[in-house]
Symmetry: none
Subunit: 381 residues, 2 copies
DNA sequence: GTGAACGGTGAATCGGATG
DNA sequence: CCATCCGATTCACCGTTCA
């Protein structure tokens, strides 16, 4: 890869009216600087896909500790600080407009975010005339827990996929290939992918994570395989640790990276240099079926397989518990999960409530595991 | 159920300053009319939870056909037509403000939507000072396919859960019950639930679906079980086919329904009349650790479970403190609460002394939390 | 060599009562 | 408004150490 470019390159568009030639000098490079002036220096209508991972505008206050007193290493970088929603909205509109100018009429744009910012981004997209094609949910297999027990575990992020205009036709969506790689069924709008951890996660000299929000390559692979073709130009205006560039190179796409922080840009360059492009034929199908889905006891109630107020017993019909509406069971005055209460009545430390507790099915007792199997079949179907 | 009410009831707030009494006349009824004037006639700060399924502002043009040329029976009601994003935003802000007024300070609000409208709703929520607690993804097990093969299968909808203000404290979140009903793990922000089909789906006289966007009862059950208590007042300003009311009644909550379409309201009323509430025992909130009575460390000494002059240690028996008669402990020359001294010896900022400190029980070490449990049992008896 | 046990950690708007 | 205090709270995965 060639050297990093510094500053803008406003002269590029002066030299050529042919965008496809003028863009060439920008390709497969990381431009160090702010996105908006650098985008302004690029030829118009020259990129095929935009992937953007903008600051989320998290509004964190004190430090958060785990129950074991260790400190959560949260995002506290300056780039994530905005004075107000208005300031964040102005920033969002500015980069979206700059990105829109360099998009080909057939180009599409992806943005990723969380509930802190994604609603503002989505509304701005619509206000600026982008046409939303899908929102896509990245379900994390291994999200961070909620340590205080005050909310639901924040287990997903949201991507928005949008065309440049309502009337834009001819955008790339590799429908058949995606379907073929997904057990011959359409790819859904929710994707189950692990966080970026282990060897994939870039580390600094002290072994700490280099970038606070490095995205998994599997996520970018799905994005690029679904909405771009080999040879297409992929723009990432918030390049960070360079996941977009690494995946683009591996999948035979060209990229334009823009990153404000020279340290991140340098790390990304080294990372991308180490990537070997895949042979064209070997682009692996990416969608895999997950193993047997975990079924909550409350799902049996939600689906009407058990009624609140019903009675469960052990296999001999001796001790009885009451099924409650919230998916707990009650024994005497004690309420808890099927597992905890099963352990309690046996005086054991642990118990598999699925096999311990039985319900009356006609004249006989049947383990509630049977009902779980029914739900699993539905989920698999 | 009593008769449907027509029109607003602006007089209610004139008769009483006590919201809990003034709201009584509004409960367990469907008010036929527009949400905003009807909400304006309700007493302020009188509801515990709001669930809203507003029009989605779908921008469908022309009929959608399946590959076999059959027509998809999509949403084409007048209530879903808005001239522009601006009109939709104004509508959204108006009903959100009207709902905010009737919410208690501790109330929370749920809104469900799709990518057509949810970004606008989320941004409006933030602009109006609501504080987003989670966004929750409803993953449909059986979504409609994308017939054209031009996008990902739209397999989810998004719910936003928000408190009335950033500083609102004390909202209901039944953390422990949810966890106990979910294999003893935290409930995530993505919920897998089937569409409303089969017998649950209301039909009109011709056997066609009565309402285009009837939500599954399982979804509402999860919403109400997580964020409300029995007896709480649940407001639904877009009542539609009455799923919120049916589930509220079944789960022992009160409801206020508002619906513009008299036909939907009548169907909802009949539906709710047919619901039998669950037995109270299957609903009663159970005592969690959080609301167990507070026990002072000194109570252990007062009850003779620990003697002044006794020694406590950490779980490994390493560092020792002396129990004093006043309920403090002494480490070297430092005296303080079990929590302070526990933090001190670990060099931590905070410490739960109940689980940190141990006493000798026969040959083994046991946490003093065990003694607290004994006191609590005495208090409960 | 193998497996159990243990430690570390990830985009986090993460408490409530009292004075 | 702020300071102080009590005390409640974590899931999945990866890498290392130890038996």
């Amino acid at each position: 890869m060639r050297q990093l470019r510094r500053g803008t390159s406003a002269q590029a568009s002066r030299f050529s009216l042919d965008s496809s030639a003028a863009i060439e000098s920008h390709l497969d490079r990381i431009h160090v600087g702010d996105s908006i002036p650098i985008l302004a220096g690029m030829p118009p209508a020259s990129v095929d896909v935009v992937f953007a991972d903008p600051p989320y505008n998290l509004q964190l206050e004190g430090a958060l500790k785990r129950p074991d007193e260790s400190v959560v290493d949260a995002v506290d970088d300056d780039w994530d600080k905005f004075a107000s929603f208005e300031a964040y909205d102005a920033f969002t509109r500015a980069w979206l407009l700059a990105a829109k100018r360099v998009m080909k009429p057939t180009a599409t744009l992806w943005v990723i975010g969380s509930y802190h910012n994604i609603f503002r981004v989505g509304a701005a997209l619509q206000d600026l005339g982008f046409w939303i094609l899908n929102d896509v949910v990245w379900r994390k297999t291994n999200p961070m827990p909620n340590f205080r027990g005050t909310r639901f575990q924040n287990a997903h992020e949201t991507l928005i996929w949008a065309a440049r205009d309502k009337s834009a036709k001819g955008y790339t969506f590799n429908y058949e290939a995606l379907k073929a790689g997904n057990e011959d069924t359409q790819v859904r709008s929710d994707w189950t992918i692990p966080l970026c951890t282990g060897a994939e996660r870039l580390k600094d000299a002290h072994g700490r994570k280099l970038h606070p929000t490095q995205k998994p390559e599997a996520l970018l692979a799905r994005v690029l395989l679904s909405s771009s073709k080999p040879g297409d130009v992929v723009l990432d205006p918030f390049f960070g640790s360079g996941t977009t560039g690494a995946v683009a190179k591996r999948l035979g796409r060209r990229f334009v990276g823009i990153e404000r922080d020279a340290g991140y840009a340098a790390a990304a360059e080294a990372r991308i240099d180490a990537v070997t492009p895949l042979p064209e034929a070997s682009l692996a199908p990416f969608a895999t079926k997950r193993d047997a889905p975990r079924v909550a006891f409350s799902a049996l109630i939600e689906r009407g397989l058990l009624q609140p107020g019903a009675t469960l017993t052990d296999k001999d019909g001796d001790c009885e518990v009451l099924v409650r509406a919230d998916g707990t069971v009650e024994f005497g005055k004690v309420v808890g999960s099927i597992h905890r209460i099963g352990a309690l009545v046996q005086g054991a430390e642990a118990c598999n409530g699925w096999t311990f507790w039985h319900y009356a099915d006609g004249g006989r007792l049947r383990a509630i595991d049977h009902l779980r199997a029914i739900v699993r079949q539905e989920l698999a179907a």
